[in-house]
Symmetry: C2
Subunit: 210 residues, 2 copies
């Protein structure tokens, strides 16, 4: 009996995972508003009724997809942060830029983020608060890094740490957007971001780095 409950649970979790994965694809292609529950069920290979059993409303799917993205981002950062190095702000920045080169593995996620972040800019969108909070959180995190660099005399120029944080978020989002639109996906997001930031944090410059 217990084994069958566990088996049932595992099966249910696998179905949920398949749905979320299918849903991410559907949202990336058609947006949250454009994707229909029927399309998502079809992509997941289950019936419409089966889908509604797991996720009664499309908003529930959106929450699941965004939660998964946050989870992956957290894991992503944790994977690339080694204990000893994590404390230095320049090393963290360096790590952030380096991870971008792996975005090809996450091309679907980059596309999903761009589509949802654009769509949810409308204040009535159910993911609006999620993205507003995410951008504010990242800006706060980056502001602290740049502030520490400024205090240690390692920040060049007149831009404030807060403005540089907003600019860094803008560069990342805006370069990824252009990358999605570049015919061969040949826009070098990582190099351009590193070059731009190293004008303010010289030690990030490729020639001065490893």
């Amino acid at each position: 009996m217990e084994v069958s409950v566990i088996r049932q649970y595992a099966k249910s979790a696998a179905v949920r995972q398949a749905i979320i994965s299918a849903c991410s694809e559907a949202f990336a292609v058609s947006g949250f508003h454009g994707a229909s529950m029927a399309e998502i069920a079809r992509r997941a290979g289950i019936s419409h009724t089966g889908l509604l059993h797991h996720f009664p409303r499309k908003e529930d799917l959106l929450t699941a997809v965004l939660d998964l993205q946050d989870e992956r981002s957290a894991k992503y950062l944790a994977d690339h942060r080694t204990a000893g190095e994590a404390s230095d702000p320049a090393t963290i920045l360096q790590g952030m830029v380096s991870t971008l080169v792996e975005r090809d593995r996450y091309a679907g996620l980059v596309e999903l983020s761009a589509v949802l972040a654009g769509e949810a800019a409308a204040t009535a969108h159910p993911a609006h608060e999620h993205f507003a909070r995410r951008y504010a959180d990242i800006r706060r995190f980056l502001s602290r890094l740049f502030r520490q660099l400024a205090d240690e005399g390692r920040l060049r120029g007149t831009v404030t740490p807060e403005d540089l944080a907003a600019a860094t978020v803008a560069l990342t989002e805006g370069l990824h957007l252009q990358w999605l639109y570049s015919p061969e996906r040949d826009l070098n997001v990582e190099d351009i971001l590193r070059e731009m930031l190293s004008a303010f944090v010289p030690e990030l410059h490729p020639q001065d780095g490893e």
Copy 2:
């Protein structure tokens, strides 16, 4: 008879304009995929049949909205470019940054652009080619400006004119996106962009400028 034809034409043009305006609002709120023809007709205050008479498919509406945006951008640039000053690249950049401060007048357009640019990042979207071309055009235009500044020794740092062009587009799009998400729309897009660019084009710096 002739007068009635002209009157009919003017009336038809006015209806088209009302539809496009209603459609811009609907796209900004729900995205291209999310906005329904019924919703657009309701916002325009006409019947569904009346809407289909002017725009048989939603794609036709998208084309009309994007054409209008391009037209406004062109007019916008022309309005802010006075004959004698236009030739100097720094003046053109200065003008571009200054016009951003008026974006409040165009808040709906900024939102519409963000929503559509995000949504159309999916390659199957009917506006994908439009945005791909627009970004490539702006990058080419800016690359020429930065190249001229570099040739005249007025560009600081090691970033290439092409990379700086992509970064400028990224900053504009990414800061506007965060502006749409900032609770009081209090993110200062213009100041941050000017500060960032003046690290590379020192004469753009507020203290050195007018």
